[in-house]
């Protein structure tokens, strides 16, 4: 069981809702994955109208928790404003806080992120910050009031997987009691399994599923990988060794080569 801001969940997969071939395929993928949280971008969809129309009705009708995000925001002020709009629209205090610092890599601007997190937490929001694996930034986000951290694995949409596993291992070790969700950069089910084998609590995906040739089958594949990785972590993984270790007993054989 996974607990995020007092909400208990059985699924460890969070899915984005952007760029599926159609809302029907999106819905089928969400169902197939068993995901209980979907993220929704508020930035572009509202395009001045203050409402997303029927697409938001589809999202609300999914019967899962909605985690609005501030994707595409480049300043703390913009992100705070978007979060407040999202609270009204989806009647939730949850917000996935994204403040983009670099247009090309979509790397978070961690300074503005901490600033926005402080303001939103003080205002009663339950913030899911999209951050790097930097420990100092992570500490500042926790001080600001965040009770979940979402480090990236690699740049958004890059499908590169865990480019710096050592940093993610150290983050897990530093914050043993904080729910850690890998956000961004995963491309394959094996990436998700790897994240879970490091002891992460959940992963958030969008492009890896939405952009697959068969998003529904891919959603299912990720759910299975997450389950395998999570179970493997708790079953106790073997440490790698430099030498072969035969699995059949050798004592009693004529030669001990």
């Amino acid at each position: 069981m996974l607990t995020l801001y007092d909400t208990t969940l059985t699924s460890r997969l969070l899915l984005g809702t952007a760029r599926y071939p159609s809302p029907a395929i999106m819905e089928a993928a969400i169902r197939a994955s068993g995901t209980q949280i979907v993220t929704v971008s508020l930035r572009r969809e509202t395009a001045g109208g203050g409402r997303g129309g029927q697409f938001f009705e589809v999202i609300k009708g999914l019967g899962v928790h909605v985690l609005p995000n501030t994707a595409g925001c480049h300043t703390a002020k913009e992100a705070v404003l978007t979060a407040r709009m999202a609270r009204d629209l989806f009647a939730t205090d949850w917000v996935k806080l994204e403040v983009i610092g670099h247009h090309d890599t979509l790397q978070p601007d961690v300074f503005a992120l901490v600033e926005a997190a402080r303001e939103l937490c003080a205002d009663g929001f339950q913030v899911f910050p999209y951050t790097t694996a930097d420990l100092v930034v992570a500490e500042k986000l926790l001080e600001a009031g965040c009770r979940v951290l979402m480090p990236w694995a690699s740049p958004i949409g890059s499908a590169r997987g865990l480019v710096d596993p050592a940093a993610l291992v150290s983050m897990r070790a530093h914050f043993p009691d904080v729910p850690l969700i890998i956000d961004a950069g995963l491309g394959r089910p094996s990436h998700a399994a790897e994240a879970m084998e490091l002891g992460y609590d959940a992963v958030l995906l969008n492009t890896a599923v939405a952009g697959a040739a068969d998003p529904v089958a891919m959603a299912r594949a990720f759910a299975a990988a997450l389950e395998a990785g999570h179970a493997g972590y708790h079953a106790g993984l073997l440490e790698p060794r430099d030498m072969a270790v035969p699995s059949t007993p050798v004592i009693g054989k004529a030669v001990f080569a």
Partner: protein, 322 residues
Amino acid sequence: MNILIKGAGVAGLTAAFALTRRGYSVTLLDPNAPGMGASHYAGGMLAPWCEGETAPQVVIEAGIEAIGWWDEVLPGLVERKGTLVVAPARDQSELERFARRTTRHQWLDEAAIAELEPALAGRFRRGLFFADEAHLDPRAALAGLADAMLRMGVRLVAQADEGDFARIIDCTGRSAIKRGSGLRGVRGEMLYLKTYEIALSRPVRLLHPRIPLYVVPRDNGRFMVGATMIESEHDGPVSARSLMELLNAAYALHPAFGEAEVIETGTGIRPAYADNIPRLAGSGRHLSINGLYRHGFLMAPALAEELADRLQAEPQRRSAIA
């Protein structure tokens, strides 16, 4: 049989044409001039294989038919010159992905691209060519269709009493979007550039992981650049961000577009069903063709003929039962 078609966009006009051609008496209802809804902002690409990147087989098949349909109905308007697909050097993996998801294309190298589109010589190392695709000017096509129909005796009216008609075909597109209709709106923004510094013979698609865009050449130095895809029913003017992205794409395709004049920007709301597949729906007296999404010119002919087939089949079925 008297038939009322509501909505004179690409769906209504093609339906009116198909029915009139089979001898039905058609009245076309629209308070606005024909072709002034979302169809006005269409790209006019008849690119079924490219659309197959995300669209299902039914759209591809109908789209293949559409090329011949438009060519037959409006001779001289359809340009059968194919589609060129390119990607910036850093997004080559997008080109690989696009090739994997589509069929009926061939890989081009730099020299072959230059041969096809001399203006793009030296700009892209590789590209995909969909030789069997076509394009048309959607505004000219709809005006041509409206003219042809008026000559065939279709009445174009701004008001009508539904009680006077045996069948009512709703082709009102976005006006039919409401809760429970199964339809939603997908906002699309586009712009027209004008320059004589560059010439293209066919639509060029520029792939990008977030904002894939296309440039379609029209006459008199005009180029249509489109189109954004935003889940929204808001039809206000193009946003600064979208304008920037559209212009960036045109500029990435060729810097000469940086010197072009922006002669028009526009926003249309594409009506779409949850599966993004356009369809003929309803039964009895009330039918509809809607949800054309981004496949208006590609799917409307097949749906119009399907409608005509269905109406023609009705009395036969009745007599068979009798």
